[in-house]
Symmetry: C2
């Protein structure tokens, strides 16, 4: 089962962990023209077997729109990558989809490793292992003083971005999100919506990541982030306890969301996200017993427009999608 | 089974039919003081067996609040009667509750006969039969020129009020209610909310009744009303067809209402009425197959505050009632 359908100990608050290394290959300029892109692409394709990890190579230009968008929805690739590098960009990805390397995005390589829940250490270790192997094979652009060199100087040094996706519905319902986010910000931590910088949070989901990459070790980066995320988990869980105290109103909110999802005949993605936020909260607190964690994860994933169409193996107009979304929701809910 | 839980041919639009005769007894002033009320009460109690129809006598003052309000909610007695005549008023009622006579309200007697759906003729015939029998026994105040004499001159003559409760959800959703009601008004027909004059419509339910009582026969009154109600039925059914054309949005509305009622943990009476209006529309059109007509009727009745408490055999504070209402809804929905 793919990591994004799995759950772990902290999955009640932390949806996923991602480690990303930005790397550039020796002998190529930071900004690749079409010809240089092709040369880099070939160099990587030639090394595919040597790199291992069952990684497969795909050119963005060869993938259909729905497949590309389904990867964006899974947070495996960034929307900007598809938008700006569709002609020259490519990816390396394995079947489990826990390793996904963007080629020719902002930097030559963006090596990403994913896991469900909060698991910074193991995710970092696998990322380091892959990173070192690729470095030996392709040769990275490095500098003794600054470490890894990157297109944007503020990514240099470790060139590591560790990020964690958190679900904070109770902090939101008790109007404490802003307070918590402001506190985090002052600790040198970024908070963003689900699809990265400048995106809005939907369904109370936030991406928390380190700001600093230079003059700090990889270990320190994840230790700092770990401390902050544990604080968020604690505060979110306390807010949930508070909410759960007003037993009936809270249960009512959760079960009405469940009732609407169970019986609607059409539903937008936005409404789905908001109702799922209540439902996940309900299952996480053991109030809503009708759904398993797996079903909730599936509901999250397969109600997103591109993954919905992937799931159904067919393409639909936006208006039809709202109807199909309701059908898929019922289908997943009723799975044995 | 009581008439108000039954359904008939036209129950998709017409909830119930009521015939009411206002009568005053010879030898009593229109406005009864306490002593005269007592005397009238005794006269009626003495004739109870002779009148027949298994009618039983109850003083309002002897009934508990919940029982009285449950009768108001069933439209068997008027709210003003309970409010203004609680000390002196009384009723005659049978077990089936299709005959209910208010004693000492605006007029000495208000003889009422009820039936489900649209059934003006049979309801009138039974009312006439009861009326004639009581007239023979007690002796009515009459005038050769005007017919029956009443406290309010505008009720004189036949002193007959025929009324029909209609459910017009589709006319409401297609914004045609006002147009239809205005047209009816010009035909000498009254339109009111469920609990009579000056009350608002809730859940798209309206009471349609004759204005004129003098210089017109009983037969003419019900014939006129029948024509108007048949027009309303036709227009409401046409509006439903129109709504049902936009298949999915309409189904969605109905099934979301069903989903919320199925899973809510607390719910107000007003929200219940509005959701039930959608649900009744859904079952009437054969779209919602999950509920029988009987269950819908029960849901309407037993979610009203007093009947809710009657149903549960217990008294609850308003805030608890919203929780109990949700429980009763689930209980009725899940009845075998």
């Amino acid at each position: 089962m793919n990591w994004y359908l799995q759950s772990s100990e902290n999955s009640d608050v932390v949806k996923s962990t991602r480690i990303r290394f930005s790397r550039n290959i020796n002998g190529f300029p930071f900004d690749l023209n079409k010809e240089e892109s092709k040369r880099l692409e070939n160099k990587i394709k030639d090394s595919l077997y040597e790199i291992g990890y069952n990684l497969k190579f795909f050119k963005l230009a060869d993938m259909d729109e729905i497949t590309k968008m389904s990867l964006v929805e899974k947070n495996l690739i960034s929307p900007d990558f598809v938008l700006n590098k569709n002609e020259t960009g490519s990816i390396l990805i394995n079947d489990e989809e826990n390793i996904c390397i963007m080629i020719g995005n902002v930097d030559h390589l963006e090596i990403q490793v994913f896991n469900c829940g909060l698991d910074l250490e193991n995710t970092l270790n696998l990322a380091i292992e892959i990173d070192e192997k690729i470095g030996q094979i392709l040769g990275y652009a490095m500098n003794k003083k600054y470490g890894y060199l990157t297109s944007y100087p503020n990514n240099a040094g470790t060139a590591l971005r560790a990020s964690v996706m958190v679900h904070m519905p109770a902090l939101s319902r008790t109007k404490n999100t802003r307070k918590v986010l402001d506190a985090i910000n002052s600790f040198g931590i970024n908070i963003r919506g689900v699809y990265g910088e400048n995106t809005e949070s939907t369904g109370d989901m936030y991406q928390i990541s380190n700001k600093q990459t230079l003059g700090i070790s990889e270990k320190e980066i994840i230790e700092n982030l770990q401390v902050i995320v544990e604080k968020i988990i604690k505060q979110e869980r306390e807010a949930r306890k508070l909410l759960a105290k007003d037993d009936v109103s809270f249960e009512d909110l959760i079960y009405r969301s469940y009732g609407i999802l169970s019986y609607c005949k059409k539903i937008s993605q936005e409404e789905t996200r908001n109702l799922l936020s209540n439902i996940k909260l309900g299952t996480d607190l053991g109030i809503l017993k009708e759904l398993t964690d797996l079903k909730v994860q599936k509901l999250y994933l397969y109600t997103k427009p591109a993954n919905l169409q992937k799931f159904l193996g067919n393409q639909y107009e936006p208006i039809e999608r709202d109807i199909k979304r309701a059908e898929v929701i019922h289908q997943i809910m009723n799975e044995k």
